[in-house]
């Protein structure tokens, strides 16, 4: 079974996971299933992590995306500030991605390693969802997307940061 088949089989679990994480952080009343509507217009806040499977040296990308406006609301709520700074915004979306990706990894692949998160403001969604499994949830009436997909052949995973001394771990296990 390919990686993407494995994720496709777990689609329902991914949807449930996304709802549970967002509901725990923001309140269950604020979160609802989404019919897969696109993210609203305007800049997009994205968090990206990579799962490395040492068994076959494959890389799986986990992306969480939402409108910048929604990200501001989430950051304000979680940090209890009226106007989160750009650093706070990226920190919150990084951690949101980290929590979701950590649960994705625990759900599907136990023998892998999870990278540290990165976060960016971009002008549109990555569009890479067609190569993987994309689920979404509605938060405060706006869409948050979770995409789990194999790393694309040309995708630079070499620049990803790994926790602690992961390079040492790789060396001792190879």
């Amino acid at each position: 079974m390919s990686v993407i088949d494995e994720f496709e089989e777990a689609r329902d679990d991914l949807e449930a996971l996304l709802l549970e994480v967002l509901g725990s952080l923001l309140g269950a009343d604020e979160v609802a299933p989404s019919a897969g509507e696109p993210i609203g217009p305007g800049p997009v806040l994205e968090s990206r992590l990579v799962i490395h499977d040492r068994a076959d040296d494959s890389y799986t990308v986990v992306e969480v995306e939402t409108a910048l406006l929604v990200g501001r609301v989430i950051a304000a709520r979680l940090m209890r500030v009226a106007d989160p700074s750009p650093e706070d915004l990226l920190d919150v979306v990084s951690e949101l991605g980290n929590i979701i990706a950590g649960n994705v990894k625990s759900l599907i692949r136990h023998s892998c390693r999870l990278s540290l998160p990165t976060a960016n403001v971009v002008q549109s969604t990555s569009g890479a969802g067609e190569h993987g499994v994309r689920v979404s949830a509605s938060v405060l009436g706006q869409v948050i997307q979770l995409t789990v997909r194999p790393a694309l052949p040309q995708e630079p995973v070499s620049g990803v940061s790994w926790p602690g001394s992961y390079d040492d771990v790789l060396e001792t296990q190879s």
Binding site: S24, M79, D88, D91, G102, K105, L116, S161, G164
Partner: protein, 121 residues
Amino acid sequence: MKILVADDSRAMRMIVVRTLRQAGLSGHVILEAEDGQQALDLVGAESPDVILSDWNMPNMNGIEFLKALRAAGSTIPFCFVTSEGSEEMRDQAAEAGALGVIAKPFTPEHFLEVLGTVVSA
């Protein structure tokens, strides 16, 4: 009582401290570190009574931090607060001497359940 919270996310450190308060475990001195190395340095300087640490952090991750502590003879109660709560990681944490693993997202009840015996209300 001094509680050291180690997490590379400032937002998560804030949430952990807030959840401690919501669990009724408040009124303590909170020390914060952004990674395992900084946390290890703080242990030497501040002698915390309890440590709550993320697992995935840059420079020195949580399990490396715990192993370094135990190798130095420290028996400070240590609990992971991490986004990954797999059985494999829980076993690894227990083997290294952790009190427990609290998986994100968490609730005040989770905190009380794991930390109630080592953090005073």
